[in-house]
Each structure stands twice: as C-alpha cells, then as structure tokens.
Amino acid sequence: MSKKVIIVDDSRTARLQIINAISVDGYELIEAVDGKEGLEKLRAHPDTALVVLDLNMPRMNGLEMLSTAKSLGQGGVPFLLLTTEAQPELVQQARALGAKAWIVKPFIPDQLRAAVAKLSGAAR
C-alpha cells in the first residue's frame, strides 16, 4: 500500500508544484487548502506518513495546525514545513511544536522529493 502524504497549502499552484515534484514516487496524495481541512484530513487518515505544510494560510495557518494536531495527539506524524527565507521565527516556533524539518520556498523539486522520501520513510 502506498504511503499517504497530506499536502496543506492554500495556493493551488503551490500544491500542484508539490504534487509534480513528488508524485513520481507513488504516494497517495491528499490535498488540503488550510490548516482546518488539514486537520480533518489527518483525522480521516490516521495512517498518514507525512504532512507537507505551508505556514501562511487563511482560516488556520500552519503553526496553528501543528499545535492543534499536537494537542489532539496527532503530533506523531512527521511535518515538513514550507517557508520563505524571511520567516525564521516561524520556523523556530514550528520546531518547538515538533516539526521535523523545513524547506525554503521556492523549493527545488528534487530536493523536496528526497526530503519527502526520507521523512515519510522515517514514519514507518
């Protein structure tokens, strides 16, 4: 069974770029447009191997989703953050909330692919 990866990003373009980068590895990809939907998807798919998470989103941003997931006991799933170079304090907070790793946007597709492969592998 292929591993499940939830992609949480409000920008459809960004989600497509992520999907384009990692779909070759045969994951079951689940999209969510904000933190709220991300949490719902995470609840619906408890066997998720990895969450790729944007930080800036309407309704519920990445940090809020991280902390909620943690308080709901869903923090065991590794989170890979996507962030811009101007947001070190967000990365710091996300790390404190247990995010496994982060990648600077705009990302290099091959690097994202390698990161997702390693982090989703580590979950199992």
């Binding site: 373009t13 811009t84 170079e85 304090e89 990365v91 710091q92 790793a101 982060w102 492969a117």
Partner: protein
C-alpha cells in the same frame, strides 16, 4: 603523580623493591645470627661436657682407694682437691646402693660418703637423697646453667663401690656465649645493612632510575615537548637498557613525525593564509574550529574564541543569522537527507556593497556528521562584472530598440514609467498584480532582464502573501531600478515624443503626391498622419515578442504573417493597449503554439502559423491575432472557473472567466506566463478604449482573438488616456 590508565595511588618502584628487600635481608640476618649463636653455644657446651666428664673420671679414679678402704679423711681430701676447681659447684660421693632385698625398709639404700657444696650456688645434687642405682657407666645431665656428671667409682675388681656426683657451673660459658652473641648480632646487622644498601643502590641505578628517567621523558613527550631533556641512554644491555634504547628511538620517531606534521601544518596554514576564499570548519554543534583561512578575519573581523556558524552569518547579514542557525540545526538533526538540508542553508549573502557566496561540504564518518567545511567566497567582483555586463547588454538592447523603433520604445518608456510610478505608490491598488505582470512582459521584450526578473520576484512575493501593495523596500528597489536605467537613457529619451518619424516609403509617397499636384486637403491629411504611428511597427514588435517567447520556451519559431493595411494610429491613445497586447502574444506562444513533437502527434505538418493583422472593418479598427495551435481547452477553463467560483455556464461566461483575473490553465507558474493575470489586463485596456473582444477557439485547431475598437480611437484624443 598518578599517570597512566590506572587510578591506583602512585607507589614508586624503588619503594616497592626496598620493602621486600629489607625484609628478606633482615630475615637472612636474623637467621644467620641465630644459627651462629646456636652453633657457638653447642660447641662451648659440648667442650664443657667433655672436660667435665674427664675431670669426674679422674676424680673417681683418685677417690676409689679411699672408698675401698673406707678412709673418710682421704675421701674428703680428694673431694676438697676437686672443689678447688672454681667451676665445680658440688661434689657428692655416695656408697653404692644395696639391692632392695638386702636391706631393711627403714634403712636407706646407700649413705652419702663425702660431699662439698659451694656456698649456696646450688642445692644438693641428689636433692638430699641417695643414689638409687649403682650405675656402671657415667651419666650426664645438663641444662642451661649446669652440667651434672654421675660417675661410678670402681674397686680394683671392677665392682661399683660408690657413685660420684659432680656439678659443674656453666657461668663462664654463658658469659662467653653472651659476648659471642653480641658480636654476632653486630656483625649480622652490619653485613645485612651493607648488603641491603648495595642491593638497593644497584636496583636504583640499574632499574629504578633509568625507568624514572624514561617515565619523565615519556611524560615530556606526551606533554608535547621533546624527550631530549631527559637522558635516555642505556647503561647496560639488559631489558631496561633495551627498553631505554627502544624508547629513545621511538621518541626520535615521534619528534620527527611531529616536526613533519608541523611543517605540513605550516604549509597548509601558508595556503590558508594566502587563498582568496574563506575556509571554515564547523563542528556539528555549530562551533567553529580555530583552523581557518586568514581572509576570514579580514572580511569578518576577529571572531571570538568558540565562534559559531551563526556568528559568521551574523557578521555577514544579521537578518540571515536566525535562519542560518536553524538551517545548521536541521543539518545536524539528520531528519532531511544531507544534500537537502545543506540546500536550506544560505547560499549567497550581501553585506553593504559586497557579495558573498557560501558553499557547504558535510564531512560524514559512517552515519555520523563529523564536520561541515564552509567555503566563503567574496564574489563582489564577479557580481559587479556580471552586473556591468548585464548593464551593457541591457543598454545595447535598449539603444537597439531606440534606434530601430524609437516611437515604440518611447511609448514603452512612458507607459512603464507610469506603471512604476503607480506601483511605487504605497496605497493599495487592485491592479497591482496586473501592473507588475505588464511591466514584466514589457521589460522582457525590451531586453531589461533585471527589471523583468525583479517584477517576477515581486509577483511571486505578492501572490504568496496575497498582499494588496508592495512593501516599502520592494517599492524602493523597483523605483531605484527604473531610475537607474532612466538616468542612463536620459540623453536618449529627452523630449522623446517631440518628433515625427518618417519612413522612406512615407517620404516617397509625399514626394509623389506633391509632384502629382495632389489636392491640398489630401496633402494635409497625409502630413497630419505622420504624427501617428504605423500599426506595422506595433505588429512587428508583436512578431518579435512571439519569437522571443518561443525561443525562451524552446519551441520552433512559427511562421508569422503580418498585415497592417497601411494603418496609422495616434500613439498616446493606444500605448496602454499595445502594452498589454503582449500578454495575448505570450499566451499564443506559450499556450497556443505546440512543440515540434506535439505538432507531429496532432498531424500538423511544419511549424505553427501566426497571423497578426490590423484592419478597418466598417467603422471599427480590428486588431487580430490568430494561431493554428492547440486551441483553448474549454473544459479546463470550466474547471478553473468552478474552482475560482466564477460563472461558467455559457460560452460567453467561459470567455469572461478566461479574461477574469486569477484564471490560468497553466498548472505551474513559470517565468513566462501562468498567473492568470495577463488577459485580465488586456480586457481592462480594451474596455478603457470602449472596445470589445471576440474570441474563437476550437480545441486542437487554433485560436483567434479579435479586438474591435470604435472609429474615434483612430483620432488623437483630446484628453490624455487614463
């Protein structure tokens, strides 16, 4: 001093050897002493016993006649003679005892015949009793103080007639023995002490001292000094000597190796001090090793001891420090593949006017990250060179455009200046994204790659954060970029629109008209038209945009068919349209025209075709763009419109959706197109001129855009076009 792996307290080998040696020697001395005393005593006492026996035998012989004849006087005389011997303590002569059967029970076995007792020295020999048995042989009883000899006194026939008992004192022998013991003790102690000292001296010289020297030399060597300060010469060819020799050669080898290492380090340092790149080495916790190239100090100033990677980045760019430190933590975490984690570290940093590039080389042993080698390069000169080259290239491109198409260029210039001014305005503007997009496209067409790249970056930033305005630094950067270019072109663009452009054909036509005496009105109209721009120029620019875009996308160049119908248009009024028109062209090149293989698959022979025309139809001016490319995928537009919440029931609604902002059929934003912004800008420009847009497109066949404008747009506007 405790050294070596053991934690036991240090006890000197000399001490360890001294204790058992002293014990052994003392034991030997005591043994020898006791043996000597015992031997002397035995010798002395044995001689005494022999002498006493002899004296007693002589006494027994001499007293025998007096006993036989029962002459008491003679008997006592013999006793007294014997008693003159100082060593004789007691003498007793007893009659031979009668057999028990021959005497009555009350009668003593035998009476004492004579006796002598020296004053109180000892009691009666027989304890006041008689001799029990008449022994025929002598008997000797000895203890530490005396020797008793019991000797039978025989008659001439050999019968025992009496028994003599003589006690000799051992006083003299004991005194001699005590003297001898003292001497022996003294000699034993002296010999033992001398022996022990000699042994210790030998041990110290042969074993302990050489070993101590070796230990000091080894310690000195371990402490980084040379072993030479300690004398490590073997005294004897024995185990210690060989150990010393071996150590000496080992120390030499160590010192030699250290010298060679120091030489090599010196050479490496020489290299590090003279390279133009900054080499630094960081431990996994981010702490920097002291080994680094000298130029790092020149660039960053003296770093504190135990400086960290963050310190280095902080000196280069305080803003980048936090992210760099986080990046380093991530590298060490190992959650990401090494090369990916390295990819998140800052690569280039700008400090004032200087540009630095950073490269990272993780050093891994097994699975463990041991070090990260950081290479810092000052690329200011390279960046400056590239900038100058780019400037020159851009300038050459601008001048080329200016020379070949002065009016077009100046229109672009005026339009872009207005766009930049609008973008640099801090108030929120709904057209921000469109303006950026238009400016980007125009800048690219006129070869201003830096401005175009800047616009692209700003577009991404704005889209990412969904901001309605640019940030202050972004506005300043845009304005600065534009002003810099403007300054350089100032002399060329001054009074840019204050001229009339005439082609040779125009000139020939005018000449002919004059020669042919054309009517005055016709001449006036002809000359008035010179102030207008021929649409051919705009269409030629359009051709260039399509071709440049195709080149950029790696597509084969299409065959472009241009038809202008000799039309001219008032420049000020049309510049906004022509400026946004480029989006239609870029879309045609990017979305419409196929790649070579796509055309083969679609059974379309040869390169794609593009028709660019301006014409008068009834009272309307029509600008049209037609391609025979892949056409619009209306299903996809419908999906996009659904996603964006835009009406999409009828074809009109679909066309409107296509022109709505934010709808793009591209799945990824590229440098060229895909943001869904361009067509919206075109629609706005057309609407501003009261024009209409017609669109015909069949999927797989091609697309035709017609922009229809009312006739008044052919005339110069009285008021400036907004």
């Amino acid at each position: 001093m405790p050294t070596g792996p053991s934690r036991k307290p240090y006890v000197s080998l000399g001490f360890k050897l001294t204790i058992p040696l002293v014990l052994v020697v003392a034991a030997a001395a005591i043994g020898a002493y006791l043996g000597l005393v015992r031997m002397a005593r035995s010798n002395l006492f044995d001689s005494k016993v022999a002498a006493a026996t002899m004296v007693t035998k002589l006494f027994a012989a001499s007293v025998s006649p007096a006993v036989v004849f029962d002459d008491d006087t003679a008997m006592q005389r013999s006793v007294d003679d014997l008693a003159r011997n100082e060593e004789v303590a007691d003498v007793e002569v007893w009659a031979a005892p009668k057999p028990d059967a021959a005497r009555s029970p009350a009668e003593p076995a035998a009476p004492q015949l004579a006796g002598f007792h020296r004053g109180g020295a000892s009691g009666p020999l027989a304890g006041g009793t008689h001799v029990e048995r008449a022994e025929r042989t002598e008997r000797i009883e000895r203890d530490d103080t005396k020797v008793d000899v019991i000797e039978p006194i025989l008659d001439p026939q050999g019968g025992v007639v009496a028994v003599a008992r003589v006690r000799f004192t051992l006083e003299r022998e004991r005194a001699a023995l005590a003297r001898l013991a003292r001497q022996s003790l003294f000699v034993s102690i002296a010999v033992a002490t001398a022996f022990a000292l000699a042994m210790l001296l030998m041990l110290a010289r042969v074993v302990v001292m050489p070993l101590a020297r070796l230990e000091r030399a080894a310690r000195s060597l371990a402490g980084g000094g040379s072993a030479g300060s300690e004398r490590t010469v073997a005294l004897f060819d024995d185990e210690v000597g060989r150990l010393t020799t071996t150590f000496a050669s080992m120390a030499e080898a160590v010192v030699d190796r250290e010298r060679r290492l120091a030489d090599r380090n010196g050479e490496l340092k020489l290299i590090l001090d003279n390279v133009s790149q900054g080499f630094l080495m960081a431990l996994p916790d981010g702490t920097l090793r002291e080994e680094r190239s000298a130029i790092v100090g020149a660039w960053l100033g003296a770093l504190p001891t135990r400086a960290t990677f963050g310190d280095v980045i902080g000196r280069l760019d305080p803003n980048a420090r936090a992210l760099a430190e986080l990046g380093f933590l991530q590298l060490v975490d190992g959650a990401l593949p090494l090369d990916v984690a390295v990819g998140q570290l800052p690569r280039s940093i700008r400090r004032d006017e200087r540009h630095f590039e950073l490269a990272y080389h993780p050093v891994v042993r097994g699975e463990e990250l041991e070090r990260v080698v950081i290479v810092l390069s000052d690329v200011t000169a390279e960046v400056e060179r590239r900038r100058v080259e780019e400037d020159q290239r851009e300038f050459a491109a601008l001048v080329t455009h200016l020379v070949h198409d002065r009016r077009g260029f100046l229109e672009f210039w005026r339009e872009s200046t207005a766009l930049v001014a609008s973008l640099a305005c801090p108030t929120a503007d709904a057209s921000l994204r469109r303006d950026l997009h238009t400016l980007k496209g125009n800048a690219r067409f006129f070869g201003m790659s830096r401005l175009s790249a800047l616009c692209h970056a700003l577009e991404s930033a704005v889209a990412e954060a969904e901001r309605p305005t640019l940030r202050a630094p972004e506005r300043e950067r845009l304005q600065a970029e534009w002003t810099a270019t403007g300054d350089r072109l100032a002399t060329l663009t001054e009074d840019g629109t204050a001229f009339v452009e005439l082609t040779e054909a125009d000139h020939a036509r005018l000449t002919a008209a004059i020669v042919e005496h054309a009517p005055y009105d016709a001449l006036a109209q002809l000359v008035a038209g010179y102030r207008f721009e021929p649409t051919r120029r705009s269409l030629e620019r359009a051709r260039q945009i399509v071709e440049a875009t195709c080149r950029k996308l790696g597509k084969p160049l299409p065959i472009v068919h241009v038809r202008d119908d000799g039309l001219r248009l008032p420049p000020g009024r049309w510049s906004a349209f022509w400026s946004t028109f480029s989006h239609v062209l870029v879309n045609a090149a990017d979305h419409g025209l196929e790649t070579e293989s796509e055309r083969v698959d679609a059974a379309k022979p040869g390169p794609g075709n593009l028709w660019l025309t301006t014409s008068l139809e009834a009272d309307e001016l029509v600008v049209s763009v037609r391609d025979d490319g892949r056409g619009i995928d209306w299903e996809r537009v419908r999906a996009k419109a659904t996603e964006r919440g835009v009406a999409h029931e009828t074809q009109e609604q679909l066309e409107a959706a296509l022109l709505a902002e934010g709808v793009s059929t591209k799945s990824a934003v590229a440098d060229v197109s895909g943001r869904g912004v361009g067509l919206a800008a075109v629609a706005e420009a057309v609407a501003a001129m009261h024009g209409r847009i017609e669109l015909e497109s069949a999927y797989g066949v091609g697309t035709t855009w017609r922009f229809r404008f009312p006739s008044e747009t052919l005339l110069e506007a009285h008021a400036p076009v907004s």
